[in-house]
């Protein structure tokens, strides 16, 4: 719990320092998108400090490139470790 409070306090400080630079643009769209992104990232950080397991994007990329990656791996191992 103390970690979550720590993250919240830290994000409040960052918000306090950072928000004036967004406010300067005088665009409601900018402010709105900024709030959504900020809340999203704070949510992710809270999940991270609570040690919730995240899906790993690297595994997705590996799945996509498996048809070329696997034969290439075998080729490299055959040529380099002969």
């Amino acid at each position: 719990m103390i970690k979550v409070i720590g993250v919240l306090v830290a994000s409040a400080v960052v918000y306090k320092l950072d928000y004036p630079t967004v406010k300067k643009s005088k665009s409601n769209r900018d402010k709105f998108v900024y709030w959504i992104f900020f809340l999203f990232v704070v949510g992710i950080m809270i999940l991270y400090v609570l040690e919730v397991p995240f899906p790993n994007p690297t595994e997705w990329i590996k799945q996509v490139y498996k048809p070329v990656g696997e034969p290439y791996k075998q080729l490299v191992e055959r040529i380099v470790n002969q």
Partner: protein, 371 residues
């Protein structure tokens, strides 16, 4: 308009040079030595030729419309919806790249320099500096590059000069006898790191004040960067030997440890680390700038800087969760990352060039026929 700031051709050239050195200055010797053994330096030459090819394609794309940046060009070439989908894919690649680079510097410092420090502290410090630079804008990044360029170049040249007396030609003999196939195979993974990522520069190309001279600057920056990479790989192979170079993860850093002047001035390897800090700072910053430009353009925001702070903290978390350990990272970066990079670094630019040229020719005919 998202890009009103202007940088000079010289600043652009220095940024390209720094980006080319980027992370590869410290990883490349190990990679090519593990594939080609004593002929590893051939792969660096081969990959720089590929690099020139990539720059040629990128310059041609920039010529299609010199006032449009990467994401505007994508929308112009592929139409509204397909262009946006490709833009999102490219942004995912760039954020992945940013997180990986951040993780690499974190891994380097926590294994070699400050062993007891937690990795996220290092990552937060580095991303905060980049965040500050992106917040201040492209002009400031350009001027910063002019200030730091001499230090980075001087410390690398100093490294090469000071380590030269220990070079031993027998380490790279026999020439062209064994491991030739490995040396040619290494061209593919060796060209992924700086050259297939250069398309990011299309995002800042319209900000250069003289577009036609910037094309020449692009070539000069890549040539100078490739030359330094080549010399450093050559020196690592000659001083450390192929086996030792292949077994170390950071051979350039070990090369710095070999410096010894009259057995009096020793252990000045942090020189290498300083040069690397500068080059990776510019790599992070340019990727970060391109990323925030793309996000702001797609979401139709007023300013490039709006979303930089949330993105910065997101990237730190991403950098930690992407790779559970270093073995996983090495496996991924050797066998999957080259394909991932070539998709965005070569195939999409080629497609852009082809469709863009067809489209431009059609438009040219269309305007001629009514008159």
């Amino acid at each position: 308009m998202l890009h009103q700031e202007k940088i000079s051709v010289r600043q652009f050239t220095i940024l390209v040079f720094m980006y080319t050195l980027g992370t590869s200055v410290i990883y490349l010797p190990s990679l090519v030595a593990s594939y080609g053994k004593e002929n590893g330096w051939i792969s660096v030459l081969g990959s720089s030729l590929i690099g020139f090819g990539v720059v040629f394609i990128l310059n041609k794309i920039a010529q299609l419309d010199e006032k449009k940046h990467l994401f505007e060009l994508l929308e112009f070439i592929f139409g509204k919806w397909i262009g946006r989908i490709i833009s999102v894919l490219i942004l995912m690649f760039v954020i992945y790249l940013l997180a990986t680079n951040l993780r690499q510097i974190g891994d380097f410092i926590t294994t070699q320099v400050m062993v007891q420090t937690p990795i996220y502290v290092i990552m937060i410090i580095f991303i905060l500096v980049s965040l500050f630079a992106v917040k201040l804008g492209l002009e400031v990044i350009g001027r910063t590059s002019e200030i730091f360029f001499p230090y980075a170049l001087f410390s690398l040249i100093l490294l090469i000069v000071l380590v030269a007396p220990q070079a031993d030609f027998s380490n790279i003999q026999p020439l062209f006898r064994e491991n030739i196939a490995g040396a040619f195979l290494a061209v593919f993974p060796a060209s992924e790191v700086p050259y297939f990522q250069l398309f990011v520069f299309l995002a800042i190309f319209p900000s250069v004040n003289k577009p036609d001279k910037a094309k020449k600057g692009f070539y000069i920056g890549v040539a100078l960067g490739s030359f330094i990479l080549f010399i450093i790989t050559f020196m690592a192979l000659m001083v450390l030997g192929p086996d030792f170079t292949a077994r170390n993860q950071y051979p350039t850093y070990i090369l710095g440890k070999k410096i010894s002047i009259a057995e009096f001035i020793e252990r000045i390897e942090i020189l290498v680390a300083i040069a690397w800090f500068f080059s990776i700072f510019f790599k992070l910053t340019i990727n970060f700038y391109a990323l925030s430009l793309g996000v702001s353009y797609l979401l139709k925001l007023k300013s490039v800087q709006t979303l930089t702070t949330p993105i910065a903290f997101f990237v730190v978390i991403l950098g930690i969760i992407l790779f559970p350990n270093i073995i996983y990272f090495m496996d991924f970066s050797q066998f999957y990352w080259p394909f991932f990079a070539i998709t965005f670094g070569l195939f999409i630019p080629l497609l852009m060039l082809l469709i863009g040229m067809i489209k431009k020719r059609k438009q040219g005919n269309g305007s001629q026929t009514p008159s």
